[in-house]
């Protein structure tokens, strides 16, 4: 089990937006929804690898900027009828401070 790593403050991420966290194992997108929920996914769309961090966040979903696939932020799963899954990372917010674990909880499944 990897440790929690503090990466940012909630205010560092725009509401309905995302920030990119670069790690030795690739980029992680950390999203903040309109209700201030925070989610972390591998910054790679299961379709053609588009950077999910650059998409429009709406509800608990993000739209990939390349071909408009919708990805569920809470599960990493593509919204049907598209199929695929972006890896999910554990994330927690304590007093506005966001921490991540660098081991994904789910394996990515590319389309």
């Amino acid at each position: 089990m990897t440790d929690w790593i503090e990466v940012a403050h909630l205010d560092d991420i725009p509401r309905q937006g995302a920030r990119v966290v670069t790690t030795p194992d690739g980029s992680i997108a950390v999203f903040r929804t309109v209700d201030d929920e925070v989610f972390a996914l591998r910054d790679r769309c299961p379709h053609k690898g588009g950077p999910l961090s650059q998409g429009i966040v709406h509800g608990r979903k993000v739209a990939c900027p390349l071909h408009d696939w919708k990805i569920n932020l809470d599960t990493g799963l593509a919204v049907a009828p598209d199929k695929g899954c972006a890896a999910r990372y554990p994330v927690r917010v304590v007093e506005g401070r966001i921490s991540l674990r660098l081991a994904p909880t789910t394996e990515p499944v590319d389309a």
Binding site: D12, R15, I56, H58, G59, P65, L102
Partner: protein, 820 residues
Amino acid sequence: MSKQKLVLVGNGMAGMRTLEELLKAAPDLYQIEVFGDEPHPNYNRIMLSPVLAGEQTVDQIVLNSREWYAEHGITLHTGKRIVKIDRKHRCVVADDGTRADYDRLLLATGSKSFILPIPGADLPGVIGFRDIADVDAMIRASSRYRNAVVIGGGLLGLEAANGLKQRGMDVSVVHIAPWLLERQMDEPASRLLQKNLEEKGLKFLLQKQTAELVQGESGRVCAVRFKDGETVPADLVVMAVGIRPNTQLAESAGLQCNRGLVVNDTMQTFDPRIYAVGECVSHRGIAYGLVAPLFEQAKVCANHLAEHGVARYQGSMTSTKLKVTGIDLFSAGNFMGGEGLDEIVFQDAGRGSYKKLILKDNKLAGAVLYGDTLDGAWYFELMRDGTDVSDFRDKLLFGRHHVGDSGAGGGLGDELSRVMALPDTSEICGCNGVCKGDIIKAVRDKKLFTLDEVRAHTKASGSCGSCTGLVETILAATAGGDYSTAPSKKPLCNCTDHTHDEIRHAISENGLKTLPDTMRFLEWKTPDGCTKCRPALNYYLLCAWPQEYVDDAQSRYINERAHGNIQKDGSFSVVPRMWGGLTNPKELRAIADVAEKFKVPELKVTGGQRIDLFGIKKEDLPAVWKDLSDAGFVSGHAYGKALRTVKTCVGSQWCRFGTQDSTGLGVKLEQMTWGSWMPHKFKLAVSGCPRNCAEATIKDFGIVCVDSGYELHVGGNGGIKVRITDLLTKVETEAEVMEYCAAFTQLYREEAHYLERTAPWVERVGLSHIKEQVVEDAANRKALAERFLISQKPVQVDPWKERTEGAGTREFIPIHVAAQ
């Protein structure tokens, strides 16, 4: 808390569609029970004709399998007819004694065949054509008997007759009117149809009134006798003279009925706990018998059952097609003509083609097409939208292809007629690589009904949209003809029931000045919209309140947020503005320096006369901009729904043919218009002479200089579907060019729907409307131009410079985490 109980009486298409819509909107609100008197789960009644004709099987037309009901926790009772509604105790009782309590009741009891009240109507061998049992009876009869008589020469009667003929019977169609399908077609079209069907072997007895059905020795019907005394042999009689709403149950419960169970615009009956949809319903005095209006009703009804309570059903405009293989027929609206109406007719009996359009005040009021029905959907759209056709009235009859369709779909002419003959492997959607077979499979397997569903499941026609017409044709042919008809009112997206125009109107009328306020006021169905509505609302607010509205960056696509174009590898391309396509050594040197400093892997001259720097990493964007900004560049907005470029030729300053200073004028126009946000991208061009080297006649606003002044052209497009501009007017001075350009641009900004280019907009509203606003009314032109210039003041700030100075740079900087 226990769930509310919802009972559906009638396991048919309208009722089940309502449940599907309800489950989408509020999956956990109700515990649902469904009663159907047929022994089958819900099936596609429209496809009974192909089943009768042996082209499909019963299994293929099932829409919701028994597993589907189980998966959704719905209790299904088949073969049970509800005989009583106890409104006081809120329960229903079936013929076998089964009882079910309800909090809300949905009646979708459909309709039944009208059986003529004549002697012998109850004999064995006399049936209607409504359900699988009728089809089974017909199929059984066809294997044992020879002579079939269909009474009724309407859509259903002809489909039944065709099916029985395919099954090998001798079929006569008896019809009381002088010609077939008199409620859908005029006489000339009907005669062509009759000839065609006679060639297939059907016999017709027109203007014949049935007096009696004669009983044979076996007890079964053996002949039909007419009022004039003549008889024809008949071992099977199919009554297809019309349908009657099934209202007996509702009437016995004391619900008001008048040629159908009466409902209001929310699909509610006079008992507020009871709703009704489908063929049993009478809405504003009309009982519909086609699937498209019933699905609209289902949507509205589900909205209210889900307790959203915002939708209203306001009636539908309908069109019909005949589902007889090899016969193409389309009819909609008033097709007979009459006082105050104009008719446009085309007839070629040799080719079996007939077209008639009925116009009222330059708007399409009706259409009958026989033989060539490709443009049916387009005519229907023109009727529904009430489009003024005066600008292309002379070409209207020849179809969309000849009018210069610029939007999605349609205009592929003969290609469409060949589409069904294409092999399954042929590619329909070039953007997403979707083949014909993929679309057919998705429509069949997933039971898709609408273009939007096909787009969602296959991606076909979901990108550039140029194959929309082809996809619609395949959908209609696979799912049944009625499916292609669009709803009468098209909402912006699934988050709302309001149209683009309604939303714009609400924003300006009610002083809505933020996205959340707008969504709240218009009762948005999602918490913060979607990728379709958020950018549209952001634009509409910006356009309505240019000096006050605070732009919502998170509602913009990444390109407009990052002021670059995202590429397939996630890097960006950057295009500095070059006014009118002019540049100089200092600018070129600055670009060269940036390219070397940031190791730009590729530089390309664009079609818009400027230079594109490719492969820039997002985190480098602010630094790249700083260098370009320091050298005097501003963003080229090559990424935005915004003013893109002003393309120019060299003009009178150098060219031996040039009549005016096209380059200089282009620079002035670009300085006036740059930075403005638009419904879609917007391109200008100025050509110095009619040789038109700047290709001004395929631009949104193009100027062609001539010796005596300037021709102004609008609504051109060089993209998916090339559209040549329309001539707006001719003016004499540069000052006038500037004013007309500003006014036209502002009219487009204020009236077009988001993501609608000028070409489809001009076709939708009509060139004469634009001329009225911009050319003929000088005061209005000046007012439009002034509003444009006011809107320009706050936006002519270079976004690159803003970022360089610190605004919003944070988003570009990644957070680094070292290895653990």
